[in-house]
């Protein structure tokens, strides 16, 4: 089998010297240098060593993808280094082991580099006492308003309180009160009383986004996080500060008071707002999507995602979603006159009848089977999955059809947003459904319809009336088969309308702009009769070509991987949660 699919492209595994350290008595080998927040190799810190040793060190201000601040003091640990004699050589114990000189002062694990032979102690009574002390300090001026805090359930203050908190407070003084319900920007709400001043948000927006918008004002215990008065905290990445805020100081206005997080089911998925394909978690409850949060994948988005993508989920739950399989009534308009009101597009509505999937698919199959070669055109969408596009390519081959997809471009940025707004442009091209230069076949299809050569048009998820195949041309078609999610001018004119699914309602894979094939899972049930396209496409392909295939997404993907050269060697299983990069 050819293996066009390359394996993970990790940073060149240059020979980095390994050193031995001990974490809580267990010896572990760690590299002397490790990547810091920006990816630069810097001396390995204690917290990194502890992570490699699978020892949890509680922390608030430390974040692996942010510059180190060292201000929360939660990660204080005790440590010792080999005792050196006057000759600068380690002193040995009588039993031959190296003598360790324990440091009289603790160190913050997040900023202190490890040295060979170092011993880190994270579970001594002293360390526990320090953590308890720090936590108590953090809590004395905290409002303790968990019942109304959106962070409750995923709050570090709550989590560490379980481990290191006191059952009763000895604080009898008045708490420091600070501004609450501060409107920080269009998407962010701030509660300064909850803020523990870890400065993660400040560092993120300054060092990652480059928008130095947040800061701390006043002094001492009155320190207060704020943006400059009158200047909104508004860039395309603000909502990441909500994710990294270890407490409930920064909350999302969109998610504000919507649902408690412990009710949310988290589904691994991929953002479809652009070709970057940020890995996400879809938070849903009872078939309703409440939020997207980024899912860490260093090969794609790190721990971040853009605000636009994050909030671009509401259309999935829209009331006007296509829910029924519809067939256009024959001789409509004249015979049936009960519906005279005009549709959104200003045209007289075309009347449809509801039918079953089986009936509609067999009718379509019949029509396609009888269509003369070259009389069918397919407009697929680069928003469809690899599997769906591959099934379409099978159909295209059988029918000798001309096909293409529609490109979408827009402004991008240096961080995550791609100029390509289709999530699967690479998939559409690798499966051969889209033209090499996406969209160049569209005028040819329009011409074909105009000249009468093309009699049947199959459209997936695109409103072709806005891309050069107008209503008049669609009117000339013998058969217009449309699959979509939301109604538009094209769906209105369809002879067969097949309701499809949003990515959150099905499984599949996308190939992002860098050629990374990533899979996504199903979070919610599709509305009404809507079915994932790959499911009914499979039926259609089977009916038209007579070839049987897999009726599971796993099988389908594996079959596709064998067929499409670029995907050779991939299997659904070896994609893992973070995907595999292929050559595009």
């Amino acid at each position: 089998m050819s293996t066009a699919a390359t394996t993970e492209t990790k940073p060149a595994p240059a020979a980095i010297e390994k050193i031995m350290v001990k974490v809580d008595g267990r010896e572990i080998e760690v590299p002397r240098l490790m990547a810091d927040w920006s990816g630069k190799l810097t001396p390995t810190t204690m917290i990194q060593a502890c992570e490699l040793a699978k020892t949890d060190v509680p922390h608030y201000c430390y974040h692996p993808k942010l510059p180190i601040a060292g201000n929360c003091r939660m990660c204080l640990v005790e440590f010792g280094t080999p005792a050196l004699g006057p000759d600068r050589k380690p002193i040995l114990n009588p039993d031959g082991t190296t003598k360790i000189a324990k440091s009289p002062r603790p160190a913050i694990a997040c900023a202190t580099p490890v040295s060979p032979g170092m011993e880190i102690y994270t579970n001594t009574p002293g360390v526990k006492q320090m953590r308890e002390g720090v936590l108590e300090f953090l809590l004395i001026n905290h409002p303790l308003d968990c019942p109304i805090c959106d962070q409750a359930g995923e709050c570090k203050l709550q989590e560490y309180s379980v481990d290191y908190g006191q059952s009763a407070s000895r604080f009898v003084e008045a708490k420091v009160h600070k501004p609450k319900v501060v409107d920080l920007g269009p998407r962010i709400m701030l509660d300064d009383e909850r803020c523990i001043l870890c400065t993660r948000c400040i560092r993120f927006t300054k060092d990652i986004v480059g928008d130095d918008a947040l800061g701390i004002v006043n002094r001492g215990s009155f320190n207060t996080l704020t943006a400059f008065p009158g200047k909104a905290f508004d860039n395309n990445y603000t909502l990441n500060t909500v994710d990294i805020c270890p407490v409930g100081a920064l909350t999302s206005k969109d998610f504000r008071f919507q649902m408690r997080v412990w009710f949310l089911k988290e589904t691994r998925s991929v953002c479809t707002s652009c070709a970057t394909g940020c890995n996400i978690l879809i938070g849903s409850r009872e078939e309703k999507i409440y939020r997207y949060t980024p899912r860490e994948n260093d090969a794609v988005n790190g721990p971040w995602m853009c605000d636009y993508g994050r909030l671009n989920y509401k259309w999935i739950g829209r009331a006007d979603r296509l829910k029924d399989v519809l067939v256009r009534n024959v001789g409509q308009a004249s015979s049936l006159s009960h519906s005279q009101e005009k549709s959104e597009t200003g045209r007289m509505p075309v009347l449809h009848s509801k039918v079953t999937w089986t009936a509609a698919l067999s009718e379509i199959a019949d029509k396609l089977k009888n269509a003369p070669a070259g009389s069918v055109a397919i407009v697929a969408s680069a928003r469809q999955t690899n599997e769906e596009l591959w099934l379409i390519s099978k159909l295209k081959a059988k029918l000798g059809a001309i096909s293409d997809s529609i490109s979408r471009t827009g402004a991008g940025d240096k961080l995550l947003v791609s100029t390509d707004k289709n999530p699967n442009t690479n998939g559409a091209q690798l499966t051969g459904v889209a033209a090499n230069s996406m969209g160049t076949n569209l005028p040819k299809i329009a011409d074909g319809i105009r000249t009468g050569k093309i009699r049947t048009l199959i459209v997936f998820g695109e409103d072709v009336t806005r891309h050069g195949i107008g209503v008049d041309l669609l009117g000339k078609l013998e058969t217009l088969i449309v699959s979509d999610i939301l109604p538009n001018a094209t769906t209105e004119l369809a002879h067969y309308l097949l309701p499809g699914c949003a990515h959150a309602e099905k499984r599949g894979t996308f190939t992002n702009t860098k050629g990374r094939v990533q899979k996504f899972m199903k979070a919610v049930e599709p509305p009404g009769d809507a079915r994932p396209e790959w499911e009914f496409l499979h039926d259609l392909v089977y009916n038209v070509t007579g070839q049987d295939g897999f009726l599971t997404i796993e099988g389908l993907f594996n079959e596709m991987a064998q067929d499409v050269p670029a995907f050779n060697g991939l299997t659904w299983a070896n994609l893992g949660d973070t995907g595999v990069t292929v050559k595009t």
């Binding site: 003091r73 939660m74 002062r105 002390g133 001492g220 215990s221 320190n223």
Partner: protein, 468 residues
């Protein structure tokens, strides 16, 4: 009888001595600079050459000069840590942010003899290959900043400062940078951040040691005003000669600031360790004793953050029992006695002092001055101050003595980014430990009074009956 030994303030208080350059030159000023700039390279037995600056650095090391700002760290050692191979410029900052309560020694130098500081700075800069230096002066010294600026202007006019100093080809610029009322700017990394135009948040060490990653991430030396002035005298008299002043490991002279309940508060320059605390307080040529009819209650020996000494306290030092008043005023003895000489400021409290009020005052200061960067200090300093405020405003409890210590115990010992954590908790720990009865009595008295005043609390309301 212990005597003052005036080295740095030799001329400052002479009648008619003016802070201008002519007066300074008349008193032999800038001679040490000329000497420093013209030191010839010395051949070493191994064939290498020791340059002039290297020789000055060696002299400073030989002199045993310890920093006069508070920590008492060896100046020579501090200079030796400077990363001279990085290729980055080296900066020197004079820490003139004198802000430790009780201290007013640098003020004397800046206001009365600014050129001595400038000379000390130029020599130190020359010794460390520095071409740009700053004097970070506290904002309240409005006049001081003006005096220094005038002095710098005068020195530039005389070609003592600026390009090609005294024709030796050495360039140095010194600028005065004013603070704006923040104690934390006295912490060297906080000072660097402040100078960089940021909030004066002290930096984490590691990795940001000023000698390697200081001002603008370049190697930086931060020295106290008095330390830099001493450098001039070291060059003038030679390191070995300087080391003869004072006592071993505590060389040179120190200006001691004496304040509080003494007859003659003020500053006194002594050879380090050549006078005891008792002499400084009681001798006629120093503090002159307490006010009539008063007895000594407590002494804070090194600025408000140092641990307090109680009158009559005895310490075991080198197997000998020493009374608090007989402690020689130097770096090491005070550390052995559990406190520190800090910025050499002695605050004397007589028996009229309410010790709880005094601690509340100190705690208020630290709560106000905490920068709020790291958790224990930010939250702890205000908590301590609030608890003490309760105790001094009739809301105390007998248990508050232990309460205070327990809070204070959670702040110091390397849990904070800088030494402010120690500074705000040491007074509380030592005051309460040494005067516990007063704290308990005050709290107990409050409790008793409140019990008399308040009526017993009403029964908590029960769930109202359902309305059906």
């Amino acid at each position: 009888m212990a005597q003052e030994y005036k080295l740095i303030l030799k001329h400052a208080d002479e009648p008619g001595y003016m802070p201008d350059i002519e007066c300074y030159l008349r008193h032999g000023g800038y001679a040490a600079l000329k000497k420093a700039l013209t030191i010839q390279p010395k051949d070493l037995p191994d064939g290498k050459k020791l340059s002039g600056p290297e020789q000055i650095r060696q002299e400073v090391m030989t002199s045993g000069l310890r920093g006069r700002g508070g920590a008492g760290f060896s100046c020579g050692l501090k200079w030796s840590f400077v990363d001279r191979k990085s290729g980055k410029p080296i900066y020197l900052i004079c820490n003139a942010d004198e802000s430790e309560p009780g201290t007013f020694k640098d003020r004397q130098i800046i206001y009365k003899d600014p050129h001595q500081l400038i000379e000390g700075m130029i020599i130190s800069c020359f010794a460390n290959d520095v071409h740009l230096a700053y004097i970070y002066i506290r904002g309240e010294f409005v006049e001081g900043a003006k005096i220094l600026n005038r002095a710098i202007k005068e020195a530039k006019a005389k070609k003592i400062l600026g390009k090609n100093i005294l024709g030796t080809g050495y360039d140095l610029e010194i600028y005065v940078h004013r603070g704006a009322g923040a104690y934390i700017c006295g912490e060297e990394t906080g000072l660097i951040e402040s100078l960089e135009g940021k909030r004066p948040y002290p930096r984490i060490k590691p990795p940001y040691f000023p000698a390697v990653l200081g001002l603008w991430m370049c190697p930086t030396i931060v020295n106290n005003v008095e330390t830099l002035c001493n450098v001039k005298h070291i060059v003038a008299m030679g390191g070995a000669e300087f080391a003869k002043l004072g006592t071993p490991n505590n060389t040179g002279t120190r200006i001691v600031s004496l304040s509080g309940h003494v007859k003659k508060p003020g500053y006194y320059e002594i050879e380090v360790g050549k006078a005891t605390i008792g002499q400084l307080i009681f001798d006629a040529n120093f503090g002159g004793g307490l006010r009539p009819g008063r007895s000594l209650k407590a002494v804070i020996p090194g600025g408000s953050s140092a641990k307090v000494f109680k009158a009559g306290e005895k310490f075991k030092i080198k197997g000998r029992e020493v009374d608090m008043l007989d402690l020689p005023y130097d770096f090491d003895s005070l550390i052995q006695a559990g406190s520190m000489s800090g910025s050499s400021a002695i605050i004397v409290m007589d028996d009229s002092t309410d010790i709880v009020e005094a601690l509340a005052n100190i705690s208020d200061f630290y709560a106000h001055e905490s920068c709020g960067q790291c958790t224990p200090c930010r939250e702890g300093s205000l908590w301590l101050s609030k608890a003490l405020h309760r105790l001094t405003h009739g809301e105390g409890r007998a248990q508050d003595a232990d309460y205070l210590v327990k809070i204070a115990d959670n702040i110091p010992g390397g849990r904070t980014i800088c030494a402010f954590g120690e500074a705000c908790s040491w007074p509380v720990q030592s005051f309460v430990a040494k005067f516990k009865d007063e704290f308990v009595a005050k709290g107990a008295a409050d409790e008793e009074r409140r019990a008399k005043e308040t009526t017993p609390p009403t029964e908590p309301k029960q769930l109202a009956a359902a309305p059906h």
